[in-house]
Amino acid sequence: MTEATGPPSGSVPSGSVPVRAARTRRYTEDQVPLGAVVLRTTAGLAVLVVFLLPYLIMFFGSVKTKAQIRSVDPTYFPVEWHWENYLDMWSTPETPLVQNLVSTLVISVCATLLVLAVALPAAYYTARFRFPGRYIFLFLVIVTQMMQPAVLTSGLFREFLAVGLLDTWAAMILVNAAFNLSFAVWIMHSFFAGIPKEVDEAAQLDGAGTFTVLTRINLPLVWPGVVTAIVFTFVASWNEFAASLVLLSTAGNQPLSVALTKFVGQYETSWHYVFGVSVVAIVPVVLLFLAIEKRLVGGLTAGSLK
């Protein structure tokens, strides 16, 4: 689409300018005219800036003073860089941020471990063995994929109230695990299904049991799928908002996503602290996602696209 509106320089006869021929791939022409490359790069740069802009505003805001960030004559960049905000912000009165960070961490780590412990065996067994009820189980998994905690919050609230888990980390660990389970089962299932059955049979002939085959033979091969499942579950749990908002009422139990909304509507919101905490919360999950960026293109929709 971008070439269609190319500048005059792009009207050089295709093929006469051998620009970056090695970089072109698949259905683009063998040689891309210089104008198209310039246009794409410019568009790419614009996209890059737009997608990073909110996070740059966040970062610049996090090192401004309260007076600076609330100045009636705001500056785009910090006038002075106040790195000490990153130390001072944790003791702000609005919410116990250290406890919120601990909650976020505990809930996300435990939910991820639980998903792994529960989804890995299920994905392996359903990919390898036929048994009555297999289709019903896989159907349930797909149905769960269509569910989100937000629309079920009132049911979850009553359930955890009845069993005495309301306002506990355990409740949110269970919720995050349950609602990320289907994606984890699905992606690992498709990876297991991709391993030839002969690999298993050869190991079994050598005397390995089902469990040994799973851990020693299959796991190294499906590791990319496992990592993708781990990252998605962790990031989704890290950012979960709706169910935490209702199920966790004690300020210290709440994750950062809920805690930070308390700053909105305050008489004098300490935006510089909101942004400092946001930067601290966003950087690790972005790094996790970037670590699997290559797999986001293919692995994400594994099995659903032909």
Partner: protein, 291 residues
């Protein structure tokens, strides 16, 4: 039966989690929607469909449903159109593409609450940086601001902008995955037959993106419908019900009015509404049928 029992240790824990934390709450919610539950949580007996009647009789109910439809259709529509263009760009070779792709991932990983908070701050009168920018470029002439987040209409519009922004990464990457399944020779053939880039795109590439688009649209419909944090942050402090969707209304019943019975009834309605929207999409657009 023995085969099933042998499978149970492997799938049992997953099954238990699904049944106890997903299916059971659904049943409980449907049950609760027909009960009279006091604000302190005591069940005072069955009331049939009275909760549904009360939800429907709420004067703002139909405007809220209408707004929910606008929310879903506009956000998903804009997201798909912009993502198609973005994916096309990111599929092409150019120097630095790796970094652009990485930048596009960021809003996906980042907390939606935090992304919305920065926009909310940016729109604040006087000191908000987006508002200041709009004044600097002359789009608005009042530094005291437009009351962007004070008026339901403008706050809702900005919430749509944020919702599209955070939906783009997933959608773009799904379409990118679809583009990789488009065989290069079909495009080559179209080129040889004299089709220009625009014709080749709409005639050859787009039709082959059907299943990728179907997946992206379906998941987006569910995500956008169920989205709470964006509207909660952008419009949550506005009094009244002029910027609510079904989802924010459920949470107002739950948190502000402590009416778990009404919240349950509206949740069931929400459930049905999602199924209807998905059904209409499947019937009207027929995304999974062969061309």
């Amino acid at each position: 039966m023995r085969a099933f029992l042998r499978a149970l240790p492997w799938i049992g824990p997953a099954l238990a989690l699904i049944v106890l934390v997903v299916l059971f709450p659904i049943g409980l919610m449907i049950g609760n929607s027909t009960r009279d539950i006091s604000q302190s949580g005591i069940d005072r007996g069955g009331v049939g469909l009275a909760n549904y009647a009360e939800v429907f009789a709420f004067p703002y109910f139909w405007p809220i449903v209408g707004r929910t439809l606008v929310w879903v259709v506009v956000v998903v529509g804009l997201t798909v159109v912009i993502s198609l263009a973005l994916a096309q760009l990111l599929d092409k070779a150019f120097p630095g593409r790796r970094f652009v792709r990485m930048a596009v991932v960021v809003p996906w990983a980042a907390s939606v609450v935090m992304t919305t908070l920065v926009v909310h701050y940016g729109l604040e009168p006087y000191f908000g940086i987006i508002n200041a920018f709009l004044v600097d470029v002359g789009l608005i002439d009042r530094p005291e601001g437009f009351g962007w987040t004070r008026n339901p209409g403008t706050a809702f519009a900005w919430a749509i902008v944020v919702a599209v922004f955070v939906s783009l990464p997933f959608t773009t990457y799904t379409i990118l995955a679809g583009l990789q399944t488009v065989p290069g020779d079909t495009v080559e053939a179209a080129r040889i037959d004299g089709a220009g880039p625009v014709r080749a795109y709409f005639g050859v590439i787009l039709p082959q993106l059907r299943s990728a688009l179907a997946v992206a649209v379906l998941i987006n419909i569910i995500n956008v419908f169920n989205s709470l944090p964006i509207l909660r942050v952008m419009t949550g402090s506005i009094p009244g019900y002029d910027a609510d969707t079904v989802m924010t209304m459920i949470f107002k019943y739950l948190q502000n009015q402590h009416r778990i019975d009404l919240a349950s009834a509206l949740s069931v309605v929400a459930f049905v509404l999602v199924v209807v929207i998905v059904g209409v999409y499947l019937r009207v657009v027929r995304p999974l049928e062969e061309v």
